[in-house]
C-alpha cells in the first residue's frame, strides 16, 4: 500500500530485487525471501555455536615470588609435551573447546625454579644429568589437564584442573621424590568473556601450582637436603655408604584425586 505517492521501503527493496534480474515480483515472493533470509541467518547463528573455540596461552608469567632462594644447584629436564601442549574438550551435544598452551608450562617452570633455586638451568630432554656437577635434577610432567565450561557446570564459570607430577633425582640419578600436584583455577564469564575467562582460569591454575610448589616442595621432597648430602658424599671416603641410602625423604605417592 502506498500513501501520498511516496515509496515504501518495501517498494524500494522490490525495485532493487527486480533490477537484480528477478523477472517477476509478487508480494508472496518477497515475503518468502525475507523469511528465507531470516531462517538462513538464524541457522548460521545456531551452527556457529557448534564450530568450537580455540584459546591460546603462549606467554604466561608469574610474578617474582617473595621467597628466599634455596642454595642448591638444580637442573630441569622438560618432556617433549612441554614444547607444544594442546588439550581438546568436546562438550557432548555442544561446542568443542581447544586450549593451546604452547610452551607455557616450560616457561612457567623455568621462571619458577629460577626463582626458587640459587643455581638453576635447563638441560636438553635427552641429556644425561649424572655427569653434571648438580645437587638435583627435576623432571616435571603433566598427568592430566581438564576444564569445564559454563554449559557443563550450569554456572557462569570456566574451571581448569591441571595435575602435574614432579620427579626429583639426586646427582647419581637415583629418584628421591615422585610428587603429584593438583592445581585448580576458575574464572567467571561475566568478567572476561568466554575465551578470556578460560585463559584466565588456566593462568590461575598454573599460578596455583606454582604457589603449591613454593609452599610444599621442600617439605614433600626434601630437595634442600641434597646439597648437604652431596657435600658429605664428596668428603666421605669411598668405603662409605652411597648418599642415596641416607636420603629416604621420598614424597609419598598420594592417592588419585577424584576431582580430576
Amino acid at each position: 500500500m502506498v500513501f501520498g505517492g511516496t515509496k515504501t521501503p518495501a517498494m524500494a527493496l522490490t525495485n532493487g530485487l527486480a533490477n537484480a534480474s528477478i523477472p517477476t515480483w509478487e508480494p508472496g515472493n518477497l515475503m518468502s525471501r525475507w523469511l528465507k533470509t531470516i531462517f538462513v541467518t538464524i541457522l548460521f547463528a545456531t551452527l556457529s555455536g557448534c564450530g568450537g573455540s580455540k584459546v591460546m596461552l603462549h606467554d604466561p608469567t608469574i610474578p617474582e615470588p617473595l621467597i628466599d632462594q634455596m642454595p642448591i644447584t638444580v637442573v630441569a629436564r622438560f618432556p617433549e609435551e612441554f614444547d607444544n601442549f594442546v588439550h581438546e574438550e568436546q562438550v557432548i551435544g555442544k561446542e568443542k573447546w581447544t586450549i593451546d598452551l604452547g610452551q607455557a608450562n616450560k616457561l612457567l617452570f623455568t621462571q619458577l625454579f629460577g626463582s626458587m633455586f640459587s643455581d638453576f638451568s635447563v638441560i636438553a630432554n635427552d641429556a644425561d644429568a649424572r655427569s653434571l656437577p648438580i645437587d638435583a635434577l627435576i623432571e616435571p610432567s603433566i598427568d592430566a589437564f581438564e576444564f569445564s565450561v559454563p554449559n557443563q557446570s550450569q554456572t557462569d564459570e570456566f574451571a581448569v584442573w591441571i595435575r602435574y607430577r614432579i620427579k626429583i633425582f639426586d646427582n647419581e640419578g637415583v629418584q628421591i621424590a615422585n610428587w603429584p600436584i593438583a592445581a585448580y583455577g576458575k574464572s567467571q564469564t561475566t568478567t572476561f568473556g568466554g575465551d578470556n575467562a578460560l585463559r584466565r582460569a588456566a593462568v590461575l591454575a598454573m599460578r596455583d601450582a606454582a604457589a603449591l610448589i613454593i609452599m610444599q616442595m621442600d617439605k614433600e621432597t626434601g630437595i634442600s637436603e641434597l646439597s648437604a648430602a652431596r657435600a658429605r658424599q664428596e668428603e666421605a671416603p669411598p668405603t662409605n655408604l652411597p648418599a642415596e641410602e641416607n636420603l629416604q625423604s621420598t614424597a609419598a605417592e598420594e592417592p588419585p584425586d577424584d576431582s580430576l
Binding site: M31, P63, L66, T190, R207, L212, M215
Partner: protein
C-alpha cells in the same frame, strides 16, 4: 495521519497500572560488628579481596570491582589499591590456596621475606575480605512469545526473587587484628508483565548490596569510635 486506537490505549493503561502497582521491590539490611577501633591516615589505603574459592566462596568478580569502585568514589572515598596489583606484588602469599584464612596467620605471613616491606610500600592499612554471593531463590509465572509475518508479541507474567548476602571482614594490618565485619542482606523481587510488549521491572539486588555495603564500609573504617 493519526488514527485513534482505543484498544492500544487501554493496553497501555493496563501496563502502566501494572507497572505502578507491581514496581520491583527491594528490602535491605546492613549490620556491622566492631571488634577494634579503626581509622585511616593520609597515604593509607585498603585492598578488596575475595575469600578463597578453594574454601567454596563464590563472590562474583564484578561485585568485588563494584565495591572497590564505590569505596574509592566521592569526596569521602578511600584510597583503594587494585586487587591484582596487590596479589602480584605479594606472590605467592595471597593466592586462593595460600592466603591466610584467619588473622592468627598474619604474624607468620608478615615475617616472611619482603612481605611486611611490600605491604608498607603499597600503603595497605586494611584488607577487606568479601564473602557471599547473589542467588536466585524463587521464581514463577509464565510467559509466551510468538512472532509471525504480521508481527509478534508476548503475553504472560513472570517474577523472580534474588537474595544478595555478603559479609566484609576488615583486617587491620597495623595491629594484625580483625577490626570487625560489615554485612549486607538484600532481597529483591523482579517482575516481567507482558501484554504484547514485555515491561521489565528489575530489582537491582546486587547493585543495592554493593552500594549499601560500600557506604557502610567507608563509615566503618573512617569512624574513630572505640569498641
Amino acid at each position: 495521519m493519526i488514527r485513534s486506537n482505543p484498544g492500544g490505549l487501554s493496553q497501555l493503561a493496563v501496563i502502566a497500572l501494572l507497572g505502578s502497582t507491581l514496581g520491583a521491590c527491594v528490602t535491605s539490611r546492613m549490620e556491622n560488628v566492631r571488634q577494634e577501633a579503626t581509622g585511616i591516615a593520609e597515604g593509607e589505603g585498603v585492598v578488596i579481596m575475595a575469600k578463597s574459592y578453594h574454601l567454596g566462596n563464590e563472590t562474583e568478580a564484578n561485585f568485588i570491582s563494584c565495591i572497590g569502585d564505590s569505596i574509592g568514589r566521592g569526596s569521602s572515598g578511600l584510597r583503594v589499591i587494585p586487587n591484582r596489583e596487590f596479589v602480584d606484588a605479594l606472590f605467592p602469599w595471597f593466592e586462593p590456596r595460600t592466603a591466610p584464612a584467619e588473622t592468627k596467620g598474619l604474624p607468620a605471613l608478615m615475617a616472611r621475606p619482603g612481605v611486611a616491606e611490600t605491604i608498607r610500600e603499597k600503603g595497605v592499612r586494611y584488607i577487606i575480605w568479601l564473602d557471599g554471593d547473589t542467588d536466585k531463590v524463587a521464581g514463577g509465572g509464565s510467559m509466551s512469545c510468538a512472532a509471525g509475518p504480521g508481527g509478534g508479541g508476548c503475553f504472560g507474567f513472570a517474577w523472580w526473587q534474588k537474595d544478595a548476602n555478603y559479609d566484609a571482614t576488615v583486617w587491620d594490618l597495623t595491629g594484625l587484628e580483625d577490626a570487625g565485619t560489615v554485612s549486607a542482606d538484600v532481597s529483591g523481587t523482579s517482575f516481567l508483565p507482558a501484554i504484547v510488549i514485555p515491561i521489565p521491572l528489575i530489582a537491582r539486588t546486587q547493585a543495592k548490596a554493593c552500594k549499601g555495603l560500600a557506604d557502610q564500609l567507608k563509615l566503618f573504617i573512617v569512624s574513630d569510635e572505640s569498641v
